[in-house]
């Protein structure tokens, strides 16, 4: 194994020189100053005064930037939204800046996935260190060879730098050690051959991969799931323990956040039975959507349209995989109402908001039913205090079997019995394949004003490594969305897709017929993609979640939309 010298010897000292930074700030003075400061740090700077321009730049020149610095308050787009989009589409580290250093804002930034939050006026020392975020991100995502090697590498880099500076003593020896280390590194690091600043293949958590991951986790049990065993179960070549570990960490955070929110709601009854099943499904769904959304291959318009479509559609046709569904129903019927809060509940929760909004919407972005194929794989009911809120998490999986009509009907089990709060609108669900859609659209409590609106979880979804990958993994989704009319493009829109379907049924009465979906259509749809549905009936109280908390849920990838006017999906993000 030849050790490439020459360029290699320069590498550790070079990075972070030449770091490609995109700085976005509507304030020209700040922009100019930052630009100059970054140049002084020997970075390659591109500056933009408009977020939309910056986004286009990032999209057009994918792989041309290492890190994004963005202001929070911008006229054309909220900095947090840009942050999410960048995280989703390009998965670049984003550093937020603002003259406003209030804790809640900083917290929001971090929640949205910012690597860092700098408070203006920014000192040049602060900018000197932004490369750490790039390196850290790469380390966490790309390294398949093992953490030990990574640590060694870093160590070498540090040592090299030290050696370089203390060049006087024992130079030859030091150099030899350096060289040797580099050689070792060359041998070991197949991925990180060049300087960390160069682009490397990332592990893409595609739909299938995540499915496998969650399957493994469920098999092991969420508490017992360790990366090593998950990796073994997944048996995916080229996947490292570290990839799994970091993914697991995110997954756990997600679950924690959701359950935390669920607990806020207080004593949510759930159906214990296929808990793990639900867990899996819910998590799968979310990640699927995330993966979907994250794939840069899906044009924003499509996603937006998808989202819009889903939101505009009345709830309805939820097709559950027969087995899951029946099992779930059965168990749910048998369970006492106040079993325990489990993660499933929390998954679904944010979708409550969705449902209410969807009902209120008259979106014009419709996809034909055939385009959106969803099937509900499981549902979880939790009662709300005075009203029934149904939240679901819909996801799309290519591998799911199509649901038969039979299973659809089988779902149609005494919805009103199961959900007995006064406002349950069971009557709405005449043909409803999924009769749990007891959404109380009229419930004003559901109309939380969530200024954070639809937020897309950017961390879970990695951009697709290669176009072909994404195409294959998203093919069914892409097919589905192709006929979507263009709409304001927001990545987040795709996340709302699942909700739409859920909504369809129960709002049958309230939504124009064109939104309605027949069972046959649902059955047909399910052949290309499926949606897992979690229906949750938050028992104790309809709670207006604080925006922050809500945003958290939403950040998990559960699309939620509040009062979204038909054509203005972007407004979801307005601050």
């Amino acid at each position: 194994m030849a050790c490439t010298t020459g360029g290699k010897s320069v590498v550790p000292e070079q990075f972070p020189v030449g770091l490609r930074v995109l700085v976005v700030d509507d304030d020209v003075i700040c922009l100019r100053v930052l630009e100059q400061m970054l140049r002084k740090c020997m970075y390659q700077v591109t500056s933009c005064s408009q977020a939309t321009v910056a986004l286009n730049l990032l999209r057009e020149r994918k792989g041309c930037f290492d890190v994004v610095l963005s202001d929070v308050h911008m006229p054309d787009m909220d900095g947090f939204r840009l942050l999410e989009l960048v995280g989703l589409e390009m998965d670049l580290p984003v550093i937020m800046m603002s003259a406003d250093g209030r804790t809640n804002l900083v917290m929001r930034g971090i929640r949205h996935g910012a690597c860092d939050y700098l408070i203006k006026p920014i000192r040049d020392e602060e900018l000197k260190n932004i490369w750490q975020h790039v390196l850290r991100k790469r380390r966490n995502e790309i390294n398949p060879s093992g953490s030990i090697e990574d640590r060694d590498r870093e160590k070498r880099a540090i040592d090299d730098a030290e050696c370089a500076s203390s060049a006087n003593e024992g130079e030859d020896e030091v150099f030899k050690t350096q060289k040797k280390r580099r050689e070792c590194r060359d041998e070991d690091d197949t991925e990180l051959e060049d300087d960390p600043a160069s682009k490397k293949p990332r592990v893409v958590w595609s739909v299938e991969l995540h499915q496998q991951f969650v399957g493994a986790v469920n098999q092991l049990g969420i508490d017992k799931a360790v990366p090593k065993r998950i990796l073994e179960l997944m048996n995916v070549p080229g996947l490292s323990r570290e990839n799994v570990a970091s993914h697991l960490q995110k997954f756990r955070l997600y679950l924690k956040r959701l359950s935390g929110v669920a607990q806020q709601q207080g004593g949510l009854p759930t159906y214990c039975g296929p808990v793990e099943q639900n867990l899996r499904l819910a998590s799968l769904g979310r990640f699927d959507i995330q993966a979907l959304a994250a794939s840069g291959q899906l044009p924003p318009q499509t996603l937006a349209a998808l989202q819009a479509e889903l939101f505009s559609r009345p709830t309805g046709n939820l097709i559950l995989p027969a087995m899951d569904q029946r099992t779930l129903l059965h168990s749910s019927l048998q369970e006492s109402k106040n079993s325990h809060v489990d993660k499933n509940v929390s998954y679904c929760q944010p979708l409550n908001r969705c449902s209410s909004n969807i009902a209120n919407q008259t979106s014009q972005h419709l996809m034909s039913n055939e385009d959106v194929n969803y099937s509900v794989s499981s549902c979880n009911l939790v009662e709300t205090n005075s009203n029934t809120l149904i939240t679901f998490l819909q996801q799309q999986h290519q591998q799911r079997q199509s649901i038969t009509q039979e299973s659809i009907h089988s779902i149609n089990v005494q919805p009103s019995c199961l959900v007995s709060p006064p406002n349950f609108q069971a009557g709405n669900n005449q043909n409803c394949s999924f009769s749990y859609s007891a959404m109380d659209y009229n419930n004003p409590l559901l109309q939380t004003s969530n200024s954070s609106g639809l937020q897309v979880l950017e961390r879970e979804c990695k951009p697709v490594g290669t176009p072909s990958e994404s195409v294959s993994s998203m093919s069914s989704c892409s097919r589905n969305v192709q006929r979507v009319p263009s709409s304001p493009s927001t990545i987040s829109s795709v996340l709302q897709v699942p909700n739409m379907n859920c909504m369809q049924r129960s709002t049958r009465n309230s939504i124009p017929s064109r939104f309605a979906v027949d069972e046959q259509e649902i059955a047909a749809m399910s052949s290309t993609s499926q949606v897992r549905l979690y229906v949750q009936n938050n028992g104790s109280k309809v709670k207006q979640e604080p925006n922050l908390g809500f945003a958290e849920n939403v950040r998990m990838g559960i699309p939620v939309q509040q009062h979204l006017p038909p054509n203005d999906l972007m407004s979801v993000f307005s601050d």
């Binding site: 020209v28 700040c30 100019r32 140049r39 203006k120 006026p121 000192r123």
Partner: protein, 146 residues
């Protein structure tokens, strides 16, 4: 006529009184960007005057849009802190508080004060540039401020 030394001292005094940021700006200036400080400060003047104008107009409306006012002030805060105009920045903070409370009176008073502070800063900066020119004309070198 002040000696070069005196000019230089004045220059240092003015510069340091403008806080760290301005000094930082001066440090950013180099051969590839020889007029960096001047450029940035000129931008600041332009921007600020526009902002102050907009603020005045916004506050004179029948129905004051405090959100808009707040946005302007926020921007002003950011830019003034970038060049080291701390007093202006502090006034902006107070201004934003009044905006949050939707206290029109408070806002108007703040606007007045900000205008005043801005004028002071502008003068100071213009002095710095003048001194620079004078020093160079007198054959001296611009002192580096640590």
């Amino acid at each position: 006529m002040a000696t070069v030394g005196q000019l230089q001292k004045q220059f240092v005094d003015f510069s340091t009184s403008l806080y760290r940021e301005f000094i930082q700006l001066q440090k950013l200036q180099d051969e590839s960007n020889p007029d960096f400080v001047f450029e940035v400060v000129s931008l600041f003047f332009e921007d600020s005057e526009k902002l102050l104008n907009n603020l005045a107009i916004a506050l004179q409306q029948q129905v004051v849009d405090f959100k808009q006012v707040d946005a302007h002030v926020h921007q002003f805060k950011g830019s003034s802190s970038s060049i080291g105009a701390h007093r202006v920045k502090n006034m902006c903070v107070a201004f934003r508080n009044f905006c949050e409370e939707k206290n029109l009176d408070g806002c108007l008073r703040c606007l007045q004060q900000i205008n005043h502070e801005y004028c002071l800063v502008k003068n100071k900066l213009e002095n710095v540039f003048r001194l620079e020119r004078q020093i160079l004309e007198a054959g001296g070198t611009i002192p580096l401020i640590a």
